[in-house]
């Protein structure tokens, strides 16, 4: 009986999490445009999706933006965490909260703030402003995760390496970085997600020529979200699932995330 309830409970939780996603995927094969009526199976939306220049270019923009932002945020965030961890002064205690304060600030405020600053500086809105603003809210996420990893480590290994004749750089690349890797990967994953699905800041930062996918999808509310988006979501979900499965199968013992 106890086991029955356990299974039931887990089933309900899983349904709660995955049912909406399943609906999205199922309706990407719906032959009518409705989100409630079922009209038969079709692959038309997938074909339409790939011939829709507007959506595909937004998707490519989003991917390019996210990759650049993730790489830069990881580099900046990791270096920042190491610096904060290594050089402890009286200011460190104030500095760390300052780093993650932007994460707690409502996005609309950050968006408007960037909008004003960049227009004051007369910067042209586009990929460059998108990258700068996204880095600003992704770095804190990387720093939070990497700092947590750093604090759980002991410094002995790096010191031992130096003792045995490794240069500063060698010790850094062969000891510190591999040790931090799990934290760096989780930080990168977080940064990737935050950047990829951001709507509000992206809207204010995108220019007349560059727009990102979430901004595009969100602005479809006016005429109704088209099933092409269901098709796109299904593809993205599939890729995500495959990635997660591959990571978990490859490293069954070491928990990366």
């Amino acid at each position: 009986m106890n086991k029955f309830f356990k299974t039931l409970y887990i089933t309900i939780i899983l349904l709660f999490l995955y049912f909406p996603l399943i609906i999205v995927a199922v309706y990407s094969f719906n032959s009518t445009k409705s989100t409630t009526l079922w009209g038969g199976v079709t692959f038309d939306w997938y074909i339409k999706l790939f011939s829709n220049k507007s959506i595909i270019s937004a998707l490519l923009n989003s991917i390019l933006l996210t990759v650049i932002v993730t790489v830069l945020s990881v580099i900046l965030g990791t270096l920042g965490s190491i610096a904060l961890n290594r050089f402890k002064t009286k200011l460190t205690k104030i500095f760390f909260p300052l780093v993650y304060l932007p994460v707690l600030t409502p996005e609309i405020i950050v968006g408007i703030a960037f909008l004003q600053i960049f227009s004051m500086l007369d910067l042209k809105f586009g990929l460059a402003t998108l990258i700068l603003s996204h880095i600003s809210f992704c770095v804190p996420f990387v720093m939070i995760v990497v700092s947590a990893r750093l604090n759980s480590l002991q410094n002995n290994l790096e010191e031992a390496a130096r003792d045995l004749g490794a240069s500063v750089w060698q010790a850094f690349f062969h000891i510190t970085i591999p040790e931090l890797l799990p934290g760096i990967i989780s930080g990168a994953a977080l940064a990737f997600i935050m950047s990829f699905d951001d709507v509000i800041i992206s809207f204010f930062m995108s220019g007349a020529t560059v727009t990102t996918l979430p901004v595009k999808v969100y602005s479809m509310m006016k005429v109704g979200v088209s099933p092409e988006i269901n098709a796109l979501s299904t593809i993205v979900l599939l890729i995500t699932f495959v990635c997660v499965i591959v990571i978990n199968v490859k490293k069954p013992t070491k928990n990366l995330l």
Partner: protein, 348 residues
């Protein structure tokens, strides 16, 4: 590490430069909701004129306004948004180009119903594109009363049978129209009358629902609904017993319109684009795709029959000619808010 860094910088630089130097072809930047101008129409435009269209999006009018101000009314060539925001922008000044009607050869195609409205007198800055309105939908088979106008909604027989969109200005505006006043009434005494009328309406309202009022009507919980034309159309599509009512007291409409930002980089291209969309055959091809009413009188006859017969979307000129648009009422907005909150509180 250095290699990775320099590679990234290289990518960023190439991207920045490539986006700056792609000006060999003539381009216009269109700023509106995604899907509101169908892609096949844009492709036709590019094929005919050789002008590429950059299609970027906003999701609310207010966002568009903030963005346009930040870029000093430049960068974008054509902005397509809702009526009331243009009134605010006009008051701000320096954001929109005065429309040179001689550059729009299809200007005469535009229906008089949608020109010279209160949000932009004389169409100084805007060109109408598409329209929607607030209408009554009801099911004559289940409703205890015959509905012809707003006054019928106050009939006590309809207790707990009305679903309405949750929009303060729309609902109070409807009471204003019922009393023979302006949709944008600012007179204190007349608003007090509207308040009394609203208090009589409240017991009849089952629920306020802006997103899916038609579903409340379809489920049979409500027999009468006050909702946007697109929602009425959705209701009728699912249940042919449901009828649309053009209220005898008048209807409130909305007009989504184009404007050309003051510092638009390619104003000539913008005029060409607006003119192209007002060609009767082009306009008639757009409207069934976006499911909004056309503002183009010459396009009406060319609409496909199914869409043309959709009474919820295509409203006869006699009803739209003198219709008003909800506009900014300034400080009086507080009076509206008070009436609205008090009426809602009293029924809870």
């Amino acid at each position: 590490m250095k290699k990775v860094l320099s590679l990234i910088l290289l990518v960023i630089l190439t991207v920045c430069f490539s986006s700056c130097s792609s000006n060999e072809k003539e381009v216009i930047c269109l700023f509106t909701w995604e899907g509101y101008v169908p892609l096949d129409i844009i492709e036709k435009f590019t094929k005919e004129t050789g002008i590429e269209v950059n299609y970027t999006n906003f999701s609310t009018n207010e966002e568009m306004y903030a963005k346009l101000k930040a870029v000093n009314a430049g960068e974008y060539d054509v902005v397509l948004a809702s009526d009331y925001i243009f009134e605010t922008m006009a008051r701000d000044g320096g954001l929109m180009t005065e429309i040179d009607k001689t550059k729009i050869s299809n200007w005469s195609n535009i229906s008089k119903s949608y020109l010279n409205k209160n949000f932009d007198p004389g169409n100084k800055y805007t060109v109408p594109y598409a329209t929607g309105s607030t209408l009554i939908a009801y099911n004559p088979k289940t409703s205890p009363v015959k509905v012809t106008g707003y006054k019928d909604l106050l009939n006590p027989k309809l207790k707990g049978q009305i679903v309405s969109i949750d929009e303060m200005r729309v609902v109070i505006g409807m009471m204003n129209l019922m009393l023979g006043n302006s949709l944008n009434e600012t007179d204190e005494q007349k608003l007090a009358d509207a308040k009394d009328a609203l208090n009589k309406l409240m017991p009849n309202v089952l629920t306020f629902n802006s997103d899916k009022p038609h579903e409340v009507l379809l489920s049979g919980e409500a027999t009468v609904g006050l909702m946007y034309s697109s929602q009425v159309s959705a209701a009728i599509a699912e249940n042919s017993d449901i009828e649309v009512v053009y209220p005898v007291e008048g209807i409130g409409i909305g007009i989504d319109s184009f404007c050309i930002p003051f510092n638009a980089p390619n104003k000539e291209g913008a005029y060409k684009f607006i003119d192209f969309l007002n060609r009767p055959e082009i306009n008639a091809a757009i409207m069934p795709q976006i499911q909004y009413g056309t503002t183009n009188a010459a396009a009406v006859d060319l609409l496909d029959d199914e869409f043309k017969n959709n009474k919820a979307i295509n409203i006869p000129e006699e009803y739209t000619l003198n219709s008003e648009i909800i506009c900014d009422v300034g400080d009086v907005n507080n009076v509206y808010s008070d009436i609205w909150t008090q009426a809602k509180m009293s029924t809870q």
